[in-house]
Amino acid sequence: MSGLKISRRIRYQEELDLDFGKEVAAAPGGEDLYKCIQCGTCSSTCPVSVYMDQTPRRIIAMTRAGFKDDVLASNTIWLCSSCYSCSVECPKSLRITDIMYALKQKAIAEKVYPKNLPIPVLAKEFFRSVMKTGRSNEGRTVARVWLKTNPMKILTQAGLGLKLMRRGRMSMKTERMSSGHDQMRRLLDAVEAARASRRPH
């Protein structure tokens, strides 16, 4: 057998989803998605673009063109640290960070992300802690994330954890908000209800 590995890459229009771009453009901050001139400033200024399989510029191009699967499967949206450099440097004032948030939300909603990727798990654990106590409780939350995604880390990071605890910078004790917990929960439920009532029937 020949040792030269080849693969065929082509995209047929029927595989693409033009509505994907429109949905992202409809999200808050996504309104200028179609104004992008593909100049590459965002990728150039992004401090983590060197690790991304698709640079921010490419993600915008692919989102507009309907390459939904490729976009949601990329590591780009998880590498984005929300530093806002791209949004500030973009000559067409695209709010790229917000577009990345919209893509993160879509990926989590459709459960399209690599197994054991800690970020969506962190987001959900974070929210669970806030719902329960009104605070993020860093120590407990991070521990739960590791348990779910990579239990080995609890061992490898134990040293760091102890160091923090000894300096009083972390405790496994649960921090709670001083008052208004009920009100906060009611607020979040009311958001859900308000959203449902505003959805077109």
Binding site: W78, S81, K104, F126, R167, M170, L187, A190, A194
Partner: protein, 291 residues
């Protein structure tokens, strides 16, 4: 103007030193700032990835609480954590700009018994120190100038991006000016606002740690012997992984990383423990540290 203090989750946990030093410094300046009663987590960046509107609603509750406690007086809500500072500012603007968000959250807040006008001034402590208290008043409190401190001031991302309200977006100088007034020598360097990696240092280490490592390396390259920060996550990333970075990138990084308020406190002669300096991983040997 009423000043309320919004600590945010980190200042009660991993960055207790930031809260301790901020309260000590503002206390010494006799600047009244009470903690916002009943505050909840601002949502920061984590929940924005799942549900934007709920994340903003969480932040908005704090603004409503602040408005409520001040009555008719204008209120400044001081948020030392860059992330909290950004999210609180963002929710105000987004509720005005995006009808959907504004109405959904307003409706929900009414149902939860909260009143929201949207006129809280979200402030960063650097802003309050420079603009409301003034450098001269602060300089008068200096008893031990920070001679010999070559400090690289690291502002991080979210204090200046996307909204730069009190400092320059590309070359902020408020921290530099404050610490210069404390007798330190701010080191000019090009990476003042380059991302430290944020939460990536915990989730995608290779990428996150390298970002912080680059900052440490360049600060040292420019001659700094201490780095001053104004964000809990930045401080954590720059300080707590130095051993791992040395191993991963094969070069020693060993430089104290403190909060700017801790340096100001030191110059004011406030005791180390009171400033939370005992909580550092890399000790600040003395105010005039020459590593």
């Amino acid at each position: 103007m009423k000043y309320l203090y919004y600590p945010g989750c980190s200042l009660k946990g991993s960055s207790r030193g930031y809260e301790e030093s901020i309260l000590a410094v503002f206390g010494r300046l006799q600047f009244p700032m009470e903690e916002l009663d009943g505050w909840n987590c601002c949502g920061a960046t984590a929940y924005m990835a799942v549900d934007e509107v709920k994340a903003l609603a969480l932040a908005a509750r704090n603004l409503a609480l602040a408005e409520d406690s001040a009555g008719s007086e204008p209120v400044s809500l001081v948020a030392p954590c860059n992330s909290c500072y950004l999210v609180l500012s963002k929710v105000q603007r987004y509720m005005q700009e995006f009808d959907e968000i504004g109405r959904t959250i307003s409706q929900a807040m009414r149902q939860a018994g909260l009143r929201y006008r949207g006129d809280v001034h979200v402030r960063h402590p650097l802003d309050v120190l420079i603009n409301d208290i003034g450098i001269d008043a602060i300089r008068q409190q200096v008893v031990e100038p920070l001679k010999g401190s070559k400090v690289a001031c690291y502002y991080g991302c979210q204090m200046v991006r996307p909204y730069a309200t009190f400092d320059d977006q590309y070359n902020p100088t408020t921290m530099d000016d404050l610490l210069a007034a404390m007798g330190a020598e701010p080191v000019p360097w090009p990476l003042k606002t380059r991302c430290c990696g944020g939460s990536l240092t915990g989730t995608i280490e290779k990428a996150g740690l390298r970002l912080s490592y680059i900052l440490l390396r360049e600060a040292k390259e420019r001659g700094a012997n201490v780095i001053a920060t104004c964000c809990p996550l930045c401080q954590f990333n720059l300080e707590c992984y130095q051993r791992q970075m040395s191993a991963m990138f094969g070069s020693e990084v060993d430089i104290p990383v403190v909060y700017f308020s801790q340096l100001i406190g030191k110059a004011m002669g406030i005791d180390d423990r009171a400033l939370g300096l005992n909580r550092l991983f890399v000790p600040l040997k003395s105010a005039s540290a020459a590593v």
